[in-house]
Amino acid sequence: MSTIVRIQDVSKHFGRVNALKNISVEITEGEIFGFIGPDGSGKTTLFRIMTTLLVPDTGSAEVLGFDVVKEYKKIRPLLGYMPGRFSLYQDLTVEENLHFFASVFGTDPEENYSLIEPIFHRLEPFRGRLAGNLSGGMKQKLALSCALIHKPKLLLLDEPTTGVDAVSRKEFWEMLTLLKEEGITIVVSTPYMDEAELCGRVGLIQDGRLLQMDTPEEIVASFEMPLFGIKSDDTYGLIKALKSYSWAHSVHPFGESIHYTDRRDTPDIEGLKQFLSEQGVEKVEIKRVKPGIEDSFMALMGSEEVHV
């Protein structure tokens, strides 16, 4: 398996803002690689360097074996790119958009239709509708189809699921899995942590830095401390109480329960329960839970909430 993308020590700044700080990544052929991180973490800048739209200040980047600075002309025809906001022509129809992007890449919609068929067939009844009048989920599918129409070797999707509802997001990832089977390398960026688990490998990115890069399983496994999920009827009271606990290392609400780590190597759960009831928090349930990507991410971010 060859290396499709090789990024070494890349930094990029805009004025006084350091968007990327010494990033190094290697992406292998045929994998689905996810860059996970919040807004402003540098994902879009990284994508623009990979698509040769921006030049790194330091370091080097190679895509499909070509240098992004000197050989960008060779890279561009081989890419499928879906930038944020989908970049469709709002005043052209679904059909016209597809035809346009096909022709710009020197092909026509029929040539590779089988590739986009599973995605595009939902748009079939709306061929004549202006792209501007489609729902978010439909625009997403159209943009993906347009990015794939010339059967690129590398698909770069910058936040394709942002602002789209949960159902469409799920469907989108099902489509990506199908594409992987065609041998297309896919690089995705997303702020949704749960989508990390759907990737082959993941790079956690925050503030222009790569916190960790590995398979989702490895990242989770690297979460060192024992993790506890604590529930109670009075969630807010529970949070306040836990934060005031002297042994608390991290306290994070996680849906129904609070994820808690302790500063001691062997936490004293009974002691914690007693402390909580002294604080007036009733009906407490404490369970050992497995960490998820989000727990790992927050631990890596290093901004643990303690003793507020």
Partner: protein
């Protein structure tokens, strides 16, 4: 009330922080005052005049001297025969020829009447009118100085005025060429610049850049529809001019269309250039309107004669493509001139076009930064 005041304070703050708006708010009025103030002239200054003196006697010398002394006129040459007049006007620099008939002074003394012919280039009827009026008043001045009581006999000099190329002084003949220039500037430059920056604004430019489309493909593709539209517009205006307003068309239609196409290309290249320095549609529109359209209307000679403006503005007007195009169009339509007379203006337009096209292509960024 406080609610309202808080809102007003916010509005002021935002305006003050937006440099672009400030430039428009304070810079524009100043520029407009200067341009309009100096451009709008109803006087005449330094108009080039030639003299055909068939008498060459004391009276004619006096009148010629008076003409030369006036600020309005600049004696640019003397002619030997009537045949030279047409040629001189075609060359374009001379706006007026004053012809003194043979035996001028004698006729004046003997008959009490002598003839002066004032021939003006009326392709710019405003200017022609003014020039003729000034000349006539200088002549009348001289006449009055002759009519001293000592002489006894009233002297009269009768100026016969001839407006060449536009005998009826129809302003529509002046306007139509100017209108063509302004409309072409509007459509080609303004619309092209907006179209390209809109692509940038909407983010679609990113995808186009990453695609196999070459930069010159993108530019030509953007420009082509406006080229076609502009040509259609030129035809429409010409048809209207000829059949509704009866503007004469003395020259060759083919030549006219070639020159018009050249000017369209000039305007388009300016539009592309503006889009390479503007990042969004609003900026593109402001630069097109303030930097291109306004000077075109004021400094190209469309309405106000350039020769009457102060030197700095005259120099500036040389840089405005419409000024050269106006000369070309007026000369073709009203004088029937061909390339042999208009090669200089054509060359200038071509150079301007090539320059801006070259710069735009170079500036067209293959990347986002």
């Amino acid at each position: 009330m406080r609610t309202f005041r808080g809102f007003v304070v916010k509005e002021f703050r935002q305006i003050v922080r937006d440099t672009r708006t400030l430039v428009v708010l304070f810079g524009m009025p100043v520029i407009m005052m200067v341009l309009f103030g100096f451009a709008i002239r109803n006087e005449v200054n330094n108009v080039q005049v030639a003299v055909l003196d068939l008498a060459k006697d004391a009276a004619t010398q006096s009148i010629i001297q008076k003409l030369g002394a006036s600020e309005s006129f600049e004696l640019a040459g003397t002619l030997e025969s009537y045949d030279e007049v047409e040629q001189l006007f075609r060359e374009g620099d001379i706006k007026e020829v004053v012809v003194f008939e043979a035996g001028f002074s004698e006729k004046l003394i003997r008959d009490g009447v002598a003839n002066i012919q004032i021939i003006t280039d009326a392709t710019d009827p405003n200017l022609a009118n003014l020039v003729q009026a000034y000349t006539t008043s200088i002549v009348q001045d001289y006449t009055a100085s002759l009519n001293s009581p000592a002489q006894g006999q009233p002297a009269g000099i009768q100026p016969v005025v001839r407006m060449m190329y536009n005998p009826e002084l129809r302003s529509v003949n002046l306007f139509v060429p100017g209108l063509i220039a302004v409309i072409l500037m509007l459509i080609s430059a303004l619309m092209t610049s907006i179209s390209i920056t809109r692509e940038k604004e909407m983010g679609n430019m990113e995808i186009l850049l990453v695609s196999p489309l070459k930069p010159h493909h993108i530019i030509i593709g953007k420009v082509l529809p406006y080229l076609v539209l502009s040509v259609i517009n030129v035809i429409t205006i010409l048809i209207l001019a000829k059949f509704v307003f009866q503007v004469p068309f003395e020259g060759s239609y083919l030549f006219f269309f070639l020159e018009a196409t050249l000017f369209i290309l000039t305007a388009l290249s300016l539009g592309v250039f503006i889009s390479s320095i503007a990042n969004n549609q609003q900026t593109a529109m402001m630069i097109s309107l303030a930097g291109l359209l306004l000077p075109t209307v004021l400094l190209s000679g469309f309405i106000f004669p350039v020769s009457s403006m102060p030197q700095p503005l005259q120099l500036l007007s040389h840089t405005i493509p419409a000024k050269w195009f106006l000369i070309i169009v007026r000369d073709i339509m009203l004088k029937g001139s061909g390339l042999n007379y208009l090669w200089f203006e054509t060359l200038i337009l071509s150079l301007i076009t090539l320059f801006f096209m070259g710069v735009s292509l170079k500036k067209f960024k293959v990347r986002l930064q």
